[in-house]
Amino acid sequence: MTPPAAGADAKPLVLLSQPSDSGLTPVMEGQFRFVLAADADAATAAEARVLFVPGLRPVTADLIDRLPALELVSTISVGLDHVDLDACRRRGITVTNAGATFSVDSADYVVGLVVAVLRRVAAADAHLRRGSWATDGDYPLATKVSGKRVGIVGLGSIGSLVARRLAAFGCPVAYHSRAPKLPPCPYTFFPTVRALAADSDVLVLACALTEETRRVVDREVMEALGAGGVLVNVGRGGLVDEPELVRCLREGVIGGAGLDVFENEPDLPVELLDMDNVVLSSHKAVATVESIRGVLHTVSGNLEAFFAGRPLLSPVAL
């Protein structure tokens, strides 16, 4: 901890890019002085070395450039598509994210969505709650999970945990990544998303949203995935051509989808609300009590390390 200057507040200043969605820990509030960037006066803005991003609202070049002393941007999320990384690079600003804190819960949720879509769990549950089992009889047959070919786009920390889980269901796993992983990676590499989709029954999106990956799932990829295929997205809505996805679901070009993220949250295409071959979710794949506690711990660890001049816990290579 930096020693307090005489007469000054002992706690180091941290600007908030937006109000915090998940609250701040009492520990953090005890250690740092948080000020909302929009409320900061000129002196505070000039002094701020750290910007904490406790949500997904955009962190623009404009905001970054109003903070001349800024050295660190620390996000609560794994994804950084809402942060102007070019501006950070230009200014030599370090960025930390959630690291691997969310990976396990995201991977668990992917499996939950895969089973829910293929086995129609959510739809069956709704069927029973309406009292339809007694009146209309059994819900239509679903399809097996075990043995389905799983293709994962992005074999990072989330993707590799998904792979391990679905492999235990007896699913053969393949992936696409910017480059093949070194041996002993047991999964088959495909050089393009389209080729991966053509060889998959379930296509899981677990990669970051960047300029290269924006709308990487387009009509061509969905046609390759095929009428029996299922798309599961816990990455970012922007990875998928959303209007095209709706058309492909409606036309039976693909068989179903499990969607945790959308292009324009919390709004989503109304056509999806009536489809029973999709499972919808409110961007909550990461959202467990345990992971939120964990990520706040990661953030406070990064902030402490920064102010103490120690190595950061989860810096991101820009």
């Binding site: 086995r119 709704a126 819900y139 097996k144 999970v145 075990s146 043995g147 989503l268 959202a287 467990t288």
Partner: protein, 324 residues
């Protein structure tokens, strides 16, 4: 192997389950089928008529969960029956002691294990509840769905470590869950911790999964004591039989928050689901479908025929059930 030369050369089969046209055709190609449901006869008359034939049937194809019990009365009515082939993991509808000198085939499916894990994730992570939330337009209106709880690393207790229980354990191990189990006896090669009774297992588990057969020892094996031992942060998953759980106690425990949630594929009185459950967000309800997928139905049919053919050619059955 049954000859297809003349109808009389085909071995007889009592068919006591509803099925589809494809399967009936496959059976008729190989066997002389006595179709109970098509006959419209009462069971005793149907059995007597079959037994009175010059070459009475030596096999019966039945199904779990149906009304027909293969008990002493059944077997006395058709003493020629030497092989009972059933589907559904349970054999509570077949009196195994009575069948002791005869072979019985039983099958299971990895689909049940897949479904059990899906129910567990569904309860803990509120997958179906979030789907309803979004469809009701509550995301823009009320904001994010509340936080749920992590699955990975939770302590899982499995009641019944047969084929289904083992497949469930294998999947949940990949989630880093600590697996314990209770069974009639410890399994020699199971790499999981054994507890001597369901109460002790529940006390030491965050999630309790019922995957055992239904018999006298397991009827209501999950009752008030076990539910209280599971506790207010614990969840129950039942993919066995509704009657393995005391359903009234379960409903009360859920209503009173004495357990945290439940994933249920089976109920005491299907297709009736206790109405109190229908409004709960911390339960997931499915219509006894854990085993039923398009693929498993096709596999089941192949396996049933395989067992029958093995019996008639004097070969070992594919999936025999050992008598108790």
């Amino acid at each position: 192997m049954a000859s297809a030369a003349t109808g009389a050369a085909k071995p007889g089969l009592l068919l006591l389950r509803r099925t589809d046209a494809t399967f009936i055709a496959a059976l008729r190609a190989r066997f002389r089928v006595h179709d109970f449901y098509a006959s419209g006869a009462a069971l005793p008359d149907y059995l007597t008529a079959a037994a009175a034939e010059p070459d009475p049937p030596r096999t019966a194809l039945v199904v779990a969960g149906g009304a027909i019990l293969v008990d002493a009365a059944f077997l006395d009515a058709v003493p020629s029956v030497g092989c009972v082939v059933t589907t559904g993991a349970g054999v509570d509808h077949v009196d195994l002691a009575q069948c002791a000198r005869r072979g019985a085939g039983e099958i299971f499916s990895v689909d049940v294990a897949d479904h059990a894990v899906g129910l567990l994730i569904g309860v803990l992570r509120r997958v179906a509840a979030a789907d309803r939330y979004v469809r009701a337009g509550l995301w823009p209106a009320q904001g994010d769905y509340p936080l749920t709880t992590k699955l990975s690393g939770k302590r899982v207790g499995i009641i019944g470590l047969g084929s289904i229980g083992s497949q469930i354990a294998k999947r949940l191990q990949a989630f880093g869950c600590a697996i314990s189990y209770h069974s009639r006896e410890p399994k020699a090669f199971a790499p999981y911790r054994y507890l001597p009774d369901a109460h002790a297992l529940a006390a030491d588990s965050d999630a309790l999964i019922v995957a055992c057969a239904l018999n006298d020892a397991t009827r209501r094996i999950v009752g008030r004591c076990v539910l209280d031992a599971l506790g207010p942060n614990g969840v129950l998953v039942n993919i066995a039989r509704g009657v393995n759980v005391d359903e009234q106690e379960l409903v009360a425990a859920l209503q009173e928050g004495r357990i945290a949630g439940a994933g249920l594929d089976v109920f005491q009185n299907e297709p009736h689901v206790p109405p109190e459950l229908r409004d709960m967000d911390n339960v997931v309800l499915t219509a006894h479908e854990a085993v039923f997928t398009e693929e498993s139905r096709a596999n089941l049919q192949e396996l049933m025929i395989g067992n029958l053919e093995a019996f008639f050619s004097g070969k070992p059955l594919l999936t025999p059930v050992l008598p108790p």
